[in-house]
Symmetry: C3
Subunit: 412 residues, 3 copies
């Protein structure tokens, strides 16, 4: 029960503060176009945009280590709208809100009257009267998630332009059918730390591979987020999956384009071994067959026998690929057998969370703490997306936090 | 996705600040008795009370436009207790709490032990130990909602008087069976803005009419709130509904008295056309037949076959009056065909949210943005009810916010 | 509706401030080891620990009376994890968080993915990235609640030690299978006030007795908490229950040891009358038969027919002891017939919340307000457990609050 708490006065070497200032200097050199924009998909953003979000997140992380109060909103609400389950992203969003001084309100469509005929357009305005940021997860149905977020964004813009809303809330995509930017950016932040800087990612091989799971309907957005983002930093991305587990063609096209434009590479294979061979990083994760995901959208009702039947077929199809597991043997194929294992969590761990799953227990346990660290960046990434959208002078703002130097927790 | 955000430095013409100061001066001229009182029904309040709440709400709205921090509680909780669904009022209450610096806690009777034999008297105290304000919605059962709020108020008063509570939380009625004061006051604020001041409402005709909806058990509290409040500002209120859709007699009596005392008028008719003819404002909205609402309270159980049967009869009865729809043709009957359309939202829009409903799609679309603005005042009205109940010197307090001049959102 | 609100300027006699300073001086004389520890069971804590938590809670209570802002966290989250229903403890935890400036987030295992194979170890870290305190209730299953809290504590310690978490969140036990420290400490605080100081509790007789209730599976943790804590202040504790309602042997042993070590006494009897005779304090409360609670843990599924059957047997067994009720007649057995009646609430009141229950309506009504006051201390006890775990110099910190002297609610 007893453990040394990292109380600032004892841990602070002021190193964190020096790091923060160095990062702020880097931010000043960039020319992002994030201000007054939503963050829905990484591929709508420039290299400077992505790097700015990453650097701002890193500054916030350092300031928290340094016990510096980072609140810049004094009143105001951050609204979350989860249309699918979530633990870590839900908490990460609340952490981000708290970090910046925003109160949190959750749009729970069970408790609300959305069921009773409210349109998205209307609801979006009703929950935004004093709202600075809205985070949305809508990842269950292909062709719907991103569209819902666009409709929401258009609605609050309409409300702001027509004088309904005093300020326009910024949208943050907490996972849609196409992209999962807060996850992929946290993953990128993890890689930057593990490899000693973004620049060191150039030429590294990352294997984004499908893995077996006894579960139905896992979204395609995580692998899509990874293959679209990582080539932009000169990484060699190999996507591997069994036939039938293809990703959305437009995202595949985007991944290729990003590789070409940024000196990375992107290949697709149906062999997990080929993907793992000499990989510096492996990201084995399950997702649903795209045909099933597309069929799912067409079903008359979203619960019921037709869904059950679809689930049965999905599991049956998955079961044909139980050999797609991240085992010790597979890991030995990677660069010196020491590739960095990544996962967005929760992983389906063979013999732990299920009989047969995505990863062998010994492999996962060896990389358990690194996967936790990977996840730990998400609150800062979300907070960074909030700040960069709401403030034109984010570098000055971060510097203001440092100069203000108020303790986050009183020093006693 | 890209839109100019109303960042204070760019939008502030300081006009908002001048407006705020002029409104504060008006408040000083009034003599309200709101301090240390709950806000349960508008008809328990004086003219000065009503006008003070309205002016304070307007000041808060201006200060937000001006990006001024309006928090006056530094710790303390605002508790909401929704015994019926809600989106906008739920969010409006959280917005109001955030605006004043209160943390929010929701009394969810599902999660709580109220089901397990707790009395209202006890629960009211248990959720109030550090509570400044309690907002309650209890609108489903005639004869119960207002009584529940009175019991709650009596319980916390008892707790405060006996030294259980350090402070007495103020109650705000977020809709009961009799009144919906936060809605009606937001509506009044909307009218004051649309017609250029309360004084300009005198002599205006407002048609509060029933409208068809394929829904069961909509409360009577909105129309009751409107007919009781609007005559107080010299308006000519016409209530229209089919036979069987009468409102509570005591409220009808109140509406008449308010008209007589304040130089307005109040009439009841069974003709929608008569109500619409030459109206300056129309408020077509559905509610349940009063006989059915009274019968509903007597049923042994609140879910189950008896309720289903009651619902069937209600819908059958409604269906006989599908012609009670706010169509373009009906709108042409109004003053120059240009009456202001109002609704508390969500509206049942024909061909949009239902096959046949309260209002034609073209009419609603033309007034969609105004109805959003109408709703946008609610957070400020609720915050005003909180402030006026908790602070004796509300004008000085508002002035203090202005003088303090802290930014609500940092300027960067 | 109208009641004098205790606005600071009118109520403050500055007496509260003098009390606070005197209490702070007492705290300085103690030598606790609470810093960087969790608060899971009172019997893991020293006498100085217990007294410090009590004194700090009393200071916070005085400062609130004095309208002094007690917030010492400026950003940061308090997470609650309720694995059983709760009203008062849920609100008390939120009040405590608000009191210290922490935002609140609830780990709702329904909304989360814990169901989907997440391990405690992982979840604990995922909800703790910016978390200062975690409050856990897990009281339903003997042998599980305390163990879950230990697993959670080990997980966040592991995460902190490995650099996943910037700070280690402190755990507060909001009721487990063994102890209910926030309840027992609030009860102790109540006794200290009722008898004019802890020192006056020495030699007082408290009867912790079972009482009849028509309910299934009430935890043993409240009586266990009382018999383990009260002997430490020289009280004579008599535990009374029918055969079959024994408490956990290890806690019985602890109670005896605490009595021996601290000059109190501890006896067990099967006679309610014997326990009541000449008692200064009575605490009649129902709990489940230990054999049934042990069997409950072994059942294959936690809902379903086997549970229903177990419930039937439990109620049948309870029903044999309806004479175990705190009646007026029983009360006459106590010291001058005037023993202080205590209950953790909600009580099963005969003829009020059930046909036959724990206490007669007239007895409960006579002590209703005192039981509310008893409960009112809980937010301060929880806040005290938070402060003493997170701050080494808690006396200096409390003094800082006083010196800073910021109003909790603006004075207007």
């Amino acid at each position: 029960m007893s453990a040394p708490v990292a109380t600032p006065t004892r841990t602070s070497s002021r190193q964190a503060l020096r790091n923060a200032k160095a990062l702020i200097a880097k931010i000043r050199k960039l020319n992002p176009a994030l201000f007054e924009k939503d963050f829905l998909r990484t591929w709508d953003k420039s290299q400077d945009d992505i790097q700015t979000v990453l650097l701002v997140a890193q500054v916030l992380e350092e300031l928290v280590k340094e016990n510096i109060d980072t609140r810049v909103f004094h009143g105001g609400v951050a609204v979350s709208n989860f249309r699918d389950n979530s633990t870590r992203t839900r908490f990460s969003f609340q952490f981000a809100a708290s970090l910046l001084g925003l109160d949190h309100a959750d749009l729970d469509e069970g408790k609300s009257q959305i069921a009773h005929g409210e349109t998205v357009r209307e609801t979006a305005n009703m929950v935004s009267f004093l709202t600075e940021v809205v985070g949305i997860r809508d990842d269950k149905f292909i062709g719907e998630g991103h569209r819902y977020q666009q409709e929401f964004a258009a609605a609050v813009l309409d409300g702001f332009m027509n004088g309904v809303l005093p300020r326009r809330p910024a949208l943050v995509n907490l996972q849609c059918d196409e992209d999962h930017p807060t996850q992929a950016m946290a993953d990128l932040m993890h890689l930057a730390k593990e490899f000693g800087g973004l620049e060191n990612l150039r030429g590294k091989k990352i294997a984004m591979t499908w893995a077996y799971s006894p579960s139905y309907g896992k979204p395609l957005s995580v692998p899509q987020a990874i293959i679209a983002l990582m080539p932009r930093f000169g990484m060699n991305v190999v996507l591997a999956h069994p036939e039938g587990y293809e990703l959305m063609p437009e995202v595949i096209e985007t991944a290729g384009r990003m590789a070409t434009e940024n000196g990375g590479s992107f290949q697709v294979t149906n062999s997990m071994d080929e993907a793992f061979r000499d990989a510096d990083i492996v990201y084995p994760k399950s997702w649903a067959p795209i045909a099933i995901m597309r069929e799912r959208v067409t079903l008359p009702e979203r619960e019921g026998p037709a869904q059950k039947e679809l689930e049965r077929r999905c599991l049956e199809m998955n079961a044909q690929h139980k050999d797609w597991e991240c085992t010790e043997e597979k890991m030995r194929l990677t660069k010196e057998g020491k590739a960095l294992y990544m996962h967005c969590l929760p992983a389906d761990i063979t013999g732990v969370s299920c009989k047969a799953g995505e990863v062998a227990a010994t492999v996962f346990e060896r990389y358990r703490i690194p996967t936790y660290k990977e996840a730990s960046h998400k609150p800062y990434v979300i907070a960074s997306m909030m700040l960069t959208s709401k403030f034109a002078g984010v570098a000055d703002l971060l510097n203001h936090m440092v100069e203000r130097g108020q303790p986050r927790v009183e020093n006693f």
